[in-house]
């Protein structure tokens, strides 16, 4: 007899959570992209207008928000590669769980490289 699950909550484990995170990050990046194109468009208005708005990106709160966005993009991109491997590699479905952990490991490595540089720029001052 297989053990009955303790709850009724669907627990799809790595496969489900990596999908949830892929969807949430894709959603967030899209809305950031809308804002990002609008603020960059200010270069067409005047150098002063652009510098004034981009200046607000340089305060610590926005700096942390940017770090979060970079994290979202890095995860979405790495997991996107995992999704493609699941789809096109003949053993992709068999190793999807291991690949989720490879994505997590690569994510940690890339962020460990990025965060010190970025936070140094945000909090370092001049």
């Amino acid at each position: 007899m297989p053990e009955a699950p303790a709850g009724t909550l669907y627990r799809g484990r790595e496969g489900m959570w990596s999908w949830v995170a892929h969807r949430v990050t894709g959603f967030l990046i899209f809305f950031f992209l809308l804002v990002h194109v609008l603020d960059t468009s200010l270069v067409r208005v005047s150098p002063e207008a652009y510098n004034a708005v981009i200046g607000t990106y340089k305060n610590p709160i926005m700096g942390l928000g940017e770090a979060g966005l970079v994290a979202a993009v890095v995860y979405h991109a790495l997991n996107g590669v995992r999704v493609m491997l699941v789809d096109f590699w003949s053993r992709g479905t068999r190793y999807q769980r291991q690949m989720t952990w490879i994505v997590v490991a690569l994510f940690v490595i890339l962020m460990a490289g990025f965060l010190p540089v970025h936070l140094g720029n945000v909090f370092g001052g001049e």
Binding site: F30, V37, R44, P47, V70, V117, N121, G124
Partner: protein, 149 residues
């Protein structure tokens, strides 16, 4: 009955209207554009946030210096178009998943289409009509090549 076989219309397989398989193209596009965006966006993040002074070095002069070179104009244009189509198409999937009422779904799709059109048109115009040395702007805000020679 005489030994005559009844004439049957050609193949018995179900007949489907011959129309392009849009959902398949959308699925393929998500993967192809994703692979390109990976390179485009990682280089974008590296040049703007890591190399040089990172965020603290971004100002009009930085953007103007980049867009004075056609390669970065094309680079950013590709990100703009690919990411907007990829993202908007992804949002279409999400809307279809959660907005079960027709009215809600059509409203959200309409908003998505408007946001898509405005941002793509605006962004494209900005990249191509941008001048790195706008006349009358204070020289200290401009890239150095505006004043040289």
């Amino acid at each position: 009955m005489a030994a005559s076989t009844p004439t049957l219309a050609a193949p018995r397989s179900p007949r489907r209207a011959r129309r392009p398989n849009t959902e398949l193209y959308s699925w393929v596009f998500m993967r192809a554009s994703g692979a390109l965006l990976l390179i485009l966006i990682f280089v974008h993040l590296f040049t703007n946030l890591v190399s040089g002074g990172g965020v603290s070095a971004i100002d009009f002069g930085f953007v103007a210096g980049k867009w004075a070179k056609p390669v970065w104009q094309v680079w950013d244009l590709l990100i703009l178009w690919l990411a907007m189509i990829h993202g908007a198409n992804g949002l279409r999937t999400i809307i279809n998943d959660y907005a079960t009422r027709t009215g809600t779904r059509l409203t959200l799709m309409g908003l998505l289409a408007v946001a898509f059109a405005v941002v793509v048109v605006l962004g494209t115009l900005v990249i191509f009509t941008f001048s790195p040395c706008p006349p009358g702007a204070p020289a200290d805000l401009l890239p150095s090549f505006c004043t040289a020679g």
